[in-house]
């Protein structure tokens, strides 16, 4: 019988440069919930068990370690808790499809501004936001979990590129900070 050892894409790597920390994090199971036409009520009922509801566009909500993240029209990702059987929706396991990178620190916005074509000003992009967008040439999901804390979900196969690009942005920022004008 084979012994199958689980491995994440970046094996939990972490790096801090200047005011920014980049780390691979484990958010637990990720389950896609895609509501069928007419299925909203049933889904709402099913999610109530967790104290959650389908999120508003571009947002996420949390309850006791369970998080529901908007992913599109009639679609959300449930993370942090085991998949649950839901009437009225297509439920698909996505746990292995994504690598999640936490970008934290006072320079996090500046680092992401090197890659993300999105207005990340706190007023416009407050805590609780979750958007699908790009980081350079990769499609990503970005969650703002704190004033200086973001989580970036990227396709697992591209994790190394995502890491490299954020790390490069951090290095350039640090080099700028290290020179007087």
């Amino acid at each position: 019988m084979p012994e199958l050892i689980a491995k994440s894409a970046l094996e939990g790597q972490t790096v801090t440069l200047g005011t920014v920390t980049l780390a691979e994090v484990d958010v637990g199971p990720i389950t896609s919930i895609a509501v069928f036409p007419g299925g909203a009520k049933a889904v709402a009922k099913g999610l109530k068990v967790l104290g959650l509801a389908m999120p508003e566009p571009n947002g996420f909500a949390e309850k006791k370690g369970a998080r529901i993240v908007w992913m599109g029209r009639d679609q959300a990702f449930l993370t942090g808790v085991a998949a649950l059987a839901l009437e009225g929706a297509a439920v698909t396991d996505q746990s292995d499809g994504w690598t999640v990178l936490a970008v934290t620190g006072t320079g996090a916005v500046d680092a992401l501004a090197r890659l993300v074509p999105l207005d990340l000003r706190l007023l416009v992009f407050p805590v609780g936001r979750a958007v699908r967008t790009q980081a350079n040439h990769m499609n990503v999901v970005i969650l703002r979990s704190g004033d200086y804390a973001f989580e970036i979900m990227v396709f697992r196969s591209m994790a190394r590129t995502a890491w490299h690009e954020i790390d490069t942005a951090m290095q350039m920022l640090a080099a700028r900070a290290g020179t007087k004008f």
């Binding site: 084979p2 199958l4 491995k7 896609s32 297509a90 396991d93 999105l118 350079n136 350039m172």
Partner: protein, 969 residues
């Protein structure tokens, strides 16, 4: 020469730099131009065409003459404006576009040939004999042309790109820009203030006037201090806004590290995309030269530049200066020079009604008609009435008035408006939505006008943002701007318009004479305005000369279009991040490391990296490894990572119906637990993709796409779903990344699979079942891309590497092992399976012999268009197999043996070939006219490029196990 006590350079920080091999001293805060002028270096470059000696003309990024090469440790940068480049300790520069030394440039001979090098001369000659163009004339022209040099080495510098967002973008930090930024900033709006120079203040740094009762410099310092303290204001110095794009997007270039020695990871430049619903264009105005004979000598400069060098840098560009200007404002240059103790030899003012009063000789109603001094100005000739006056001078400060810097307002095709009073183009309001030009950029030439219009524009924007603010307007000069347009002084000699491209008034007149009379024709014929300054110094004057020559007015003549970028931007900055592997994301399989451990060369498959083959000790070519791997699969068992195939999870009561709509064949009838091959068309009837889809449950399918088309298919499915059946009970999502999937193929495949399944399964061919492996839920498919009994085993991606390593270890105990892309390709050719080499976008289901897979019982995407008469029939090239005993090649064309080889006899082409160790022959797949009717014929394969000419046998496309007995075993 440096003037004691003047200027804003930091005299406590001397800096050593080098120009043309000689060391000089400057100060922190100097540009290369100011530092060279401080050292009395006037000759800094050679002109483009005539190689005329040239000196600094301006004090800004519009400089046409003083372009130099900056020599770094590892590379050099050509065409750097000496007027922008700041000096720093160790800066090394050299002049460019010369043959020999700057002083003795051998190509200066061109200046003597000028009569034969008039506008467009090259269109009229060099035509005979024909071969001499590429062989002789063109190489000479190419060598002589161009300005600075690239080294030819890779640019290893660091570059950056970034995004920024704000409520109000202020472009320029002169009085108008500062006032706008202050107003918007105090109102609480998010402001980005971009300033091209390293210091804020714009023209106020060069102009010792009074604002709000204090020295302008103090006012600037006070405003800047406040802006710096506002958290909602972001000041970006050394940043030039280069372009205006749709919906409030602006491009901007920041010079991050160009003013200091290179450091690791410090970007040289950063290209910003700034998004702002409101923008204030406070870019000021550019002073314009006057065309007169020999007006291009080193020492002839813009009056405002002379003033800037004096007041901002503490440098006088001459010891005995003359002023030639048609505005009152320009007289300030003379006043400031005299106040600094510099001799002003004369003021020449062409306006007959100008004031004749001054502290130096003033020639009213006079014009400069000539100059002398080979490598630097030594004197000028002034015409006053019928009299010619000779004046000794080493610096002529000239001004023909001002052109508002309107470029950004034209970037979205806006045409500027001619203002007679200003004798200049001003912006058309609303030409760039959200962008408002203020101050001199909008023709308000006084300081008061700048402050007032800057504030007014900002107030409107603030109001639109729902904010309120009250900011007092400081008092400032409000002198009227009065000029008599003077573009070119009458004369017979060469008078330069475009210094950078060596275009003279004669050239423009010649263009008109030859019928190139539209402004675009004149520009293109003479190259006026096409040089590095893009006509910033010359376009309007050239237009006026053309208007004069054609007898039209300037407004009727029109203007050429300003296009981005406002200042040239390095390719490296715009392409930051693209270097090396940064051009596109890299996708790695979970088996990547295991494959590399086995020394498999990894090759690109789209964005993925896949193993090409797995060499064994003793194997010296890829073919040896490939043949072994093919035999291994045919005789024992092989393992390959096929996770790159697209996988789409499709659920819902209408899932089957949906698949029936997107596939040509039917899936709603597929039993649960079974897999079916599907063919997908584009709506135009040509093949989009193929793959297998499995029915995992009553309302649950898993579709597989090819690696190449995974994204394409997803987009297609989204379109079909949302456009035509959004109300159906179907939902789908990509699970490509969720599963690691491995093909296990060969006669021993079943034994291998069963060796680790908790419960051995007995799957029929094209069956699917859930399995458990080492406590993990997986899926087992019995499908084959090799023609052998084959399985594909899928587990959650996190277990992929472990499973792959385990599979290889087990396979190796059974005489098997991993196989790579090369073997995979051979196996599929032997079995006649197609890939995107065959379904290359021009083939129909008919062409590949699958027309029967297009169900007659239902509609599907592409079905109707595939019935067009040109899409089927014997004229079309059809998929066949080719078999030969000699090497053949993909890309070869097919001909009837014995017939001539040319386009009209062409019968088809080859798409895939391999040496088949199984069949013992060279095999190919290809497309042959009416091919299915020609099986058994001989065909001639010709590949001119690889020197192949081989007779092949035309066969069916399936070479190995055509009955499929092995698959079903």
């Amino acid at each position: 020469m440096r003037i004691d006590g003047k200027g804003l350079v930091d005299r406590t920080k001397p800096v050593r730099f080098r120009f043309d091999g000689k060391d000089y001293a400057g100060y922190k805060g100097d540009t290369l131009a100011s530092a060279l002028l401080a050292n009395d270096v006037r000759l800094v470059g050679r002109s483009f065409k005539y190689h005329r000696p040239r000196g600094v003309l301006t004090a800004g990024s519009e400089e046409p003459n003083a372009l130099v090469e900056v020599i770094g440790a590892s590379n050099q940068t050509p065409n750097v404006r000496a007027t922008v480049q700041e000096v720093f300790e160790g800066l090394v520069t050299q002049s460019q576009n010369r043959l020999g030394s700057l002083k003795y440039d051998l190509l200066a001979v061109n200046d003597y040939l000028a009569p034969f090098l008039s506008a467009g001369f090259y269109y009229k000659t060099f035509m005979w004999p024909r071969a001499f163009w590429e062989g002789l004339y063109e190489p000479i022209i190419r060598r002589a042309a161009g300005l600075g040099s690239l080294s030819g080495r890779h640019d290893e510098g660091t570059y950056e790109k970034a995004f920024a967002f704000c409520d109000v973008l202020v472009i320029g930090s002169g009085p108008a820009g500062l006032m706008a930024a202050l107003t918007a900033g105090r109102a609480g709006a998010d402001v980005i203030l971009c300033e091209e120079s390293h210091a804020l203040g714009g023209r106020l740094l060069s102009d010792p006037q009074t604002i709000g009762g204090m020295a302008a410099g103090d006012w600037v310092a006070q405003v800047v201090a406040e802006l710096n303290a506002l958290p909602n204001v972001r000041i970006m110095t050394r940043t030039t806004v280069t372009g205006a794009y749709d919906n409030g997007t602006y491009g901007a270039l920041e010079r991050v590290g160009l003013h200091k020695p290179a450091r690791p990871n410090l970007p040289r430049e950063c290209f910003w995309r700034i998004v702002a619903p409101h923008a204030v264009l406070a870019s000021g105005a550019l002073e314009r030269p006057v065309a007169f004979e020999n007006n291009d000598r080193p020492g002839i400069m813009m009056a405002s530049a002379v003033r800037t060098y004096l007041n901002r840098y503490g440098v006088s560009p001459g010891k005995r200066v003359t002023l030639f200007a048609n505005t009152d404002a320009a007289r300030a240059t003379a006043r400031d020079l005299m106040a600094a103790g510099i001799t002003v030899a004369a003021i020449i003012d062409p306006r007959p009604d100008a004031s004749a009063v001054g502290d130096c000789p003033v020639h009213v109603g006079a014009e400069v008609v000539g100059s002398r001094g080979r490598l630097g100005l030594s004197g000028i000739q002034v015409r006053k009435g019928s009299e010619i006056i000779e004046i000794e001078t080493d610096c002529l400060a000239m001004s023909g008035g001002w052109n508002p810097t309107i470029h950004l307002t034209c970037h979205m095709n806006g045409r500027p408006r001619w203002d007679e009073e200003l004798a200049a183009f001003v912006p058309m309001e609303g030409a760039v939505p959200g962008l408002v030009a203020v101050g001199a950029a909008n023709g308000s030439m006084s300081t008061h006008g700048a402050l007032a219009t800057g504030q007014a524009a900002a107030l409107k924007m603030v109001e639109a943002l729902g904010r309120k603010v009250s900011v007092p307007l400081p008092e400032a000069e409000d002198a009227p701007y009065r000029l008599k347009a003077l573009w070119a002084v009458e004369g017979t000699g060469r008078a330069w318009l475009d210094f950078a491209n060596d275009v003279t008034t004669k050239d423009v007149k010649l263009a008109a004479q030859e019928g190139y009379a539209s402004v675009e024709h004149m520009k293109r014929y003479t190259t006026q305005g096409m040089a590095p300054d893009q006509g910033k110094n010359s376009n309007v004057a050239a237009l006026a000369v053309l208007a004069d020559a054609t007898g039209r007015g300037i407004p009727e003549t029109g203007t050429t279009t300003f296009r981005p970028p406002y200042v040239p931007v390095s390719i490296a900055a715009l392409g930051a991040g693209g270097r090396a592997e940064g051009f596109a994301p890299q996708r790695f399989l979970t088996s990547d490391q295991a494959s590399r451990d086995r020394h498999a060369p990894m090759i690109e498959a789209g964005l993925w990296y896949r193993p090409s083959y797995f060499p064994k000790p003793g194997e010296t070519t890829w073919r040896e490894a490939c043949d072994r791997e093919v035999n291994m699969v045919r005789q024992a068992v092989g393992v390959a990572d096929v996770s790159t195939l697209g996988k789409i999870d499709i659920q819902g009561k209408d899932a089957g119906r949906f698949l029936d709509f997107v596939y040509t064949n039917t899936f709603s009838t597929l039993p649960v637990g079974r897999v079916r091959y599907g063919l997908m068309l584009r709506e135009d009837g040509l093949v989009l993709d193929d793959g297998t889809s499995a029915r995992l449950g009553e309302d649950h399918y898993l579709m597989t796409t090819t690696t190449a088309a995974a994204g394409l298919v997803m987009r297609h499915l989204d379109f079909v779903h949302q456009a035509f059946c959004a109300d159906w009970q179907v939902r789908f999502i990509s699970v490509t990344e969720s599963w690691a999937q491995f093909a296990v193929a060969g006669p021993k495949a079943r034994a291998l699979v069963n060796s680790f399944l908790e419960t051995p399964v007995d799957l029929p061919f094209m069956g699917v079942a859930p399995v458990r492996i080492g406590g993990v839920d997986g899926r087992l498919f019995r499908i084959s891309f090799s023609g052998e009994e084959g399985y594909e085993l899928a587990v959650p991606t996190r277990y992929g590497e472990a499973l792959f390593r385990d599979l290889l270890a087990r396979a190796e105990t059974m005489g098997g092992g991993p196989y790579g892309m090369e073997a995979l390709n051979v196996l599929r050719i032997e079995k006649g399976f197609i890939t995107h080499a065959e379904i290359h976008g021009r083939v129909t289901a008919y062409d590949i012999g699958m027309e029967k897979m297009v169900s007659a019982k239902k509609d599907c995407i592409g079905k109707a268009a595939a019935t067009r008469p040109g899409m089927w029939g014997p004229e079309r090239e059809q998929l066949v197999g080719l078999k030969a005993q000699a090497p053949i090649s993909a890309g070869a064309h097919l001909f009837v043996p014995g017939q001539e080889v040319h386009r009209e006899t062409d019968q088809g082409y080859v798409t895939s070939v391999c040496w088949s160790p199984t069949v013992g022959a060279w095999l190919g797949l290809g497309f042959l006219k009416d091919g299915r009717a020609r099986i058994g014929e001989k065909i001639r394969l010709v590949d001119h490029l690889r020197g192949l000419d081989v007779i092949c046998e035309v066969t069916g496309p399936v070479f190995h196990d055509p009955e499929g007995e092995k698959l079903r075993a």
